[in-house]
């Protein structure tokens, strides 16, 4: 017989109340852990998605929209950039690389991006981690297509299969404007390894194929019959929706002193929008930050209320336990030892709740990261952030212990003689 066994028996005798109270601590802990872990992990995932791009040029309405559309494929960019403008920008500065991209088509809801060949050879979706093929090869000829890992898993496509792209994002909102480019089958030639970025849910092809598809539409409207070839393309058909730019850097470094200067230079051109993706992600963080701080405040409030429920549960039990406390005192157990047992009881509820919270948090993170990956292709690490976990678990346990202080004082003050006399 020892103090712990007395405490455990006491908790066991109030099993339902103990379980409910510990569960409320678990829910609060899990909520906080999930919120904080996902916040950290999702912003890391967003930062990863920008890859080695220093500057992004588009004709979108704002730099943030340009990044959301151009890097995270939120929507197809609304305005095009001419090929001539691309050449002008590319030739105006000795960029390390300048990758043209064009969006606007989709396959079963997955976005399709037509990209220049440097997208696979020079651009890295995550710094230090260039594209890797899981199967096949990168597109090298028109009408070849390469799948991001999420798109491959979600669509079930395999190498050699033929696919037809849909004009637009393929959502029901587009109604009759969405149509399938049924004349031009694309052949799946490669499947990429996961990169942990939004690119994983994209199908990639070359620019010529995309231009041919859209030139075909133009020619049909003009009443020209027959399939379009490269030779039929006009300058107006050669449009892109974004340019990923990287400036030269010293070996082993990602930053360049010229980024800001070049950013300012490009901004003078009012026909385009230029964005520094890293800056825009920080901006996004500050916008969303207010919302998730609200969730975290909610989690703290739930944790506080669970602390109050521990206090109430134990305080209510004190009335029934006066005889037990008085008896222990009569047997010679010191006041402080009994006080310690009550605090231990509250702390154990907190420990059980915090452990349960970690398990729930892991499950919650796994569900949330699965949903993020499925919905927007954002690969978020489902493990708990160790530093936040230690702080939150310690906070839950300390709060629970504090909730035991009032009942412990009540126990300390319990009169012995009065509570051992037979009740009338």
């Amino acid at each position: 017989m020892n103090d712990i066994s007395i405490v455990l028996k006491s908790l066991s005798s109030r099993r339902l109340s103990t379980i409910i109270t510990a569960a409320s601590v678990s829910v609060a802990t899990a909520l906080l852990l999930t919120m904080i872990s996902l916040r950290t992990a999702s912003f890391e995932a967003f930062q990863r998605g920008t890859g080695t791009t220093h500057l992004l040029v588009s004709a979108d309405s704002s730099p943030l929209t340009a990044v959301l559309n151009g890097v995270f494929y939120a929507n197809a960019p609304s305005n095009p950039i001419s090929w001539a403008k691309y050449q002008e920008i590319k030739n105006a500065f000795p960029y390390d690389w300048a990758v043209p991209t064009q969006q606007g088509d989709s396959f079963r809801g997955y976005p399709v991006a037509a990209v220049g060949p440097e997208f696979f050879t020079r651009f890295e979706p995550v710094r230090g981690e260039p594209w890797q093929l899981a199967q096949g090869q990168f597109p090298s000829k028109p009408f070849e297509i390469c799948l991001g890992s999420t798109a491959a898993a979600g669509s079930g496509l395999r190498l050699g299969q033929k696919v037809f792209l849909t004009h637009g994002s393929g959502t029901s909102r587009e109604g009759e404007h969405a149509h399938e480019h049924a004349e031009y089958p694309f052949t799946v030639v490669g499947i990429l390894q996961p990169s942990g970025s939004a690119h994983d849910r994209v199908l990639f092809t070359d620019l010529d194929s995309s231009w041919i598809l859209h030139a075909q539409d133009r020619r049909e409207r003009e009443g020209v019959e027959g399939l379009t070839t490269l030779a039929d393309l006009k300058d107006e058909d050669r449009k892109i929706t974004g340019i990923l730019l990287r400036l030269p850097t010293r070996p082993g470094r990602d930053a360049s002193a010229a980024i800001q200067q070049q950013f300012d230079t490009l901004r003078r051109d009012t026909s385009i929008v230029v964005a520094q993706p890293a800056q825009q992600i920080d901006r996004l963080r500050s916008i969303i930050g207010n919302v998730d701080e609200l969730f975290i405040a909610l989690g703290v409030a739930v944790l506080l209320s669970s602390g109050i429920s521990i206090l109430l549960s134990m305080h209510n039990s004190m009335a029934q336990r006066r005889m037990q406390i008085a008896l222990l005192r009569a047997l010679g157990v010191a006041r402080m030892r009994i006080t310690g047992m009550i605090l231990m009881e509250a702390t154990l509820i907190g420990c059980a709740g915090a452990i349960g919270g970690c398990v729930l948090g892991l499950i919650g993170n796994a569900i949330a990261s699965g949903a993020l990956k499925a919905r927007i292709g954002l690969v978020v690490d489902p493990t708990l952030d160790p530093r936040s976990t230690v702080i939150i678990v310690a906070g839950a346990i300390v709060l629970s212990a504090l909730a035991g202080v009032l009942p412990a004082i009540t126990a300390y003050r319990t009169p012995v003689a009065d509570n051992l006399r037979p009740q009338a």
Partner: protein
């Protein structure tokens, strides 16, 4: 040193309504005495004073050669745990604990090595006729619960057992059996017994009867003596 307990020049009061004054009272090792008196006469108060659960205004209380008066609360707790066993009218067993655990509580309070608790408690309970030592005491009969309460009082081999109205809620037959049990257990444990009871029939069981009324002044007795004067 042959005294299990010794009280000298002891004074205690509950304000003006009740005061207790004892010039000298001692109980030898193994001696059994009954504290007799009516309800509210101060029998329990005397037991609480000896147990260190109430503090005297002045005087000395010595239990097994150790001064209880003037001792710090924690020192009094230790003396009570090691040298005093207590039996109550309603047993005061913890219902969610087994018989063995209820007895082990006393060993824990006395600081006995934890690994000896189960064996010592079980052995004593078996000796007192309790075989189902691991069932919650709530599942035992009243008579068995009484045996568990007695086992808890004597398991630490105390110098004295203080019994507060141990038979008040029992009929005559059961009261007699309960007292047989308590007295025999104390005898075998070598403990003195100080038993408080308002039941005059109990007096024949004890070699010594202490009338608590002789130590106590109450508002009623003062009024009575004032009227006589």
């Amino acid at each position: 040193m042959n005294n299990a307990v010794r009280l000298e020049n002891l004074n205690f009061d509950y304000g003006k309504d009740f005061s207790l004054s004892i010039k000298e009272l001692s109980l030898n090792k193994g001696e059994m005495a009954l504290i007799s008196g009516g309800s509210g006469s101060g029998k329990s108060t005397l037991l609480w004073l000896i147990a260190g659960l109430l503090r005297a205004k002045s005087g000395s209380i010595t239990v097994a050669g150790q001064r209880m008066d003037g001792a710090s609360e924690s020192a009094a707790d230790r003396i009570r745990a090691r040298h005093i066993g207590m039996v109550f009218q309603t047993h005061h067993l913890l219902p969610e604990f087994s018989a063995q655990d209820n007895v082990a509580l006393a060993l824990m309070a006395a600081g006995e090595p934890e690994k000896t608790h189960a064996a010592r408690a079980r052995e004593l309970l078996n000796k007192l006729g309790i075989e189902r030592v691991n069932v919650p005491v709530a599942n035992l009969s009243v008579g068995q619960q009484q045996r568990v309460a007695v086992a808890r009082a004597i398991v630490c081999k105390p110098a004295i057992v203080l019994a507060d109205e141990p038979t008040a809620s029992l009929d005559d037959v059961n009261a007699s059996q309960a007292m047989d049990l308590i007295q025999q257990a104390c005898r075998e444990a070598g403990a003195a017994l100080l038993c408080a009871s308002h039941d005059r029939a109990m007096q024949s069981r004890f070699e010594r009867v202490i009338q608590v009324d002789s130590f106590v002044r109450t508002e009623r007795s003062q009024a009575h003596s004032g009227a006589r004067a």
